[in-house]
């Protein structure tokens, strides 16, 4: 890890010095122990803040989109001919690059507006999982070393195996190395266990209709409509989310359970061909709603129906933007 971090910092410095990029989005150490948070670096000397470890959770593509959109809006007042482009550098692991690819497919910005600093990834720690593992104790300080997490906590020293507390999405990640990048830091990380990626879904599919409905309703009842998932999701960048739209109002804001169910259903459905399973939504959800159970289904269908994996290749078109007479499944069509 260390040497990757150093390489990363050097590269960041170089890019800023050579004005290859206007800003670099990466991770810095968090204020709390055993955390890392996104940071924005515009000066070479700040580059040393950058970290790259198993605590880097958020999918930074989200911030790329935010910055570029903000910049574009600021440019709106400028005459088209003298508008300036900004180049955003971003520390990008596999899932991040997938999100970036989706942005590019959806023409949110040009390829040359983003500079991808590719990094290998062997997964990040699921904060909630860790907390559970150590019986809810508060962490005072800690470090990761040799596949272990060593911690001083409110009730004594604790050590857990890193593998046991990695996020679900990471454990079965198929693309833990960047799909594309402008520069690659370090050598590719070893594969995770993608063959198991749909096990949960298959298991759930095997359940009865009523069991599935019961689980869905149970999970949805947790949701407090705080929209954290949406805010964290790189694919959620609609200027006005349908939730906030009136005329017509798509989702009621009342007490009714069905409104929450419909809200989540719709947001999840918007992820067809667009969810890269980065786990950001899950990690930010204050109520621990099992969103991944449903997102993975959408991912699975998209693969099985249309042979598409979100953001897995620059050449792909958005799966809902085309139709394949010969290969698409037809069996959902009813014939009397």
């Amino acid at each position: 890890m260390e040497n990757i971090e150093t390489k990363l910092r050097e590269e960041a410095k170089r890019l800023l010095l050579e004005k290859k990029v206007d800003v670099i989005i990466g991770y810095e150490e968090g204020t709390l122990p055993l955390t890392a948070t996104p940071c924005f670096i515009t000066k070479p000397e700040e580059a040393d803040k950058l970290v790259w470890n198993n605590l880097c959770t958020q999918n930074l593509a989200k911030f790329v989109h935010d910055l570029i959109t903000a910049h574009k809006n600021s440019q709106k007042r400028v005459k088209p001919e003298d508008r300036k482009k900004k180049v955003i550098g971003v520390v990008a692991r596999g899932c991040t690059t997938r999100s970036l690819i989706i942005h590019l497919q959806e023409r949110q910005y040009e390829r040359d507006e983003v500079y991808m600093i590719g990094v290998p990834c062997d997964g990040y720690v699921d904060g909630k999982g860790l907390k559970v593992k150590i019986g809810g104790a508060d962490i005072v300080e800690g470090s990761i070393d040799g596949g272990q997490i060593k911690m001083k906590t409110s009730d004594g020293d604790k050590t857990v195996v890193l593998k046991d507390v990695l996020a679900d999405s990471c454990l079965t990640c198929r693309f833990n190395n960047p799909i594309i990048s402008d520069v690659m830091i370090g050598s590719p990380a070893p594969a995770m266990n993608p063959d198991a990626e749909y096990n949960d879904v298959k298991e759930f599919e095997a359940k009865t209709m009523e069991e599935r409905w019961a689980y869905f309703t149970k999970e949805m009842e947790k949701c407090i409509r705080c929209n954290a998932c949406r805010q964290a999701c790189p694919s959620c960048y609609c200027p006005t989310c349908f939730v906030e739209q009136s005329q017509p109002q798509w989702v009621g804001i009342g007490e009714d359970k069905s409104d929450t169910q419909v809200f989540q259903f719709m947001r999840l459905y918007h992820m067809v061909g667009r969810c890269v399973d980065c786990g950001s939504c899950v990690s930010v959800c204050p109520m621990g709603v099992d969103l991944r159970k449903f997102l993975k289904k959408i991912d699975k269908d998209c693969w099985e129906f249309f042979g598409n994996r979100a953001g897995s290749s620059m050449e792909d078109m958005p799966p809902l933007g085309k139709y394949d007479e010969h290969h698409d499944k037809q069996d959902f069509i009813y014939n009397p």
């Binding site: 349908f242 798509w250 069905s258 419909v262 259903f265 719709m266 459905y269």
Partner: protein, 72 residues
């Protein structure tokens, strides 16, 4: 028993969102040819199935439709 009785009372009502040029025309033809079928359907005409926002289906279910038929 009571439940089955209740079911007798109950008639499903579902919405059909259909394309103006194909299915809607076909439905008209059924009428012109006086082909009889159950009354449970309520048709909504749209210019083309391509126009049907998937959320229409969700909203229809939320609004209490027992089912949704989409036909192009």
């Amino acid at each position: 028993m009571a439940e089955s009785l209740a079911n007798k009372e109950w008639e499903p009502k579902f919405v059909a969102i259909v394309c103006n040029w194909c299915t809607y025309a076909g439905a008209d033809l059924a009428g012109i040819s006086r082909i009889q079928y159950p009354t449970n359907v309520r048709i909504i005409r749209v210019p083309c199935t391509g126009r049907i926002n998937p959320f229409y289906i969700v909203k229809a279910l939320q609004s209490g439709a027992d089912g949704v038929l989409v036909s192009g």
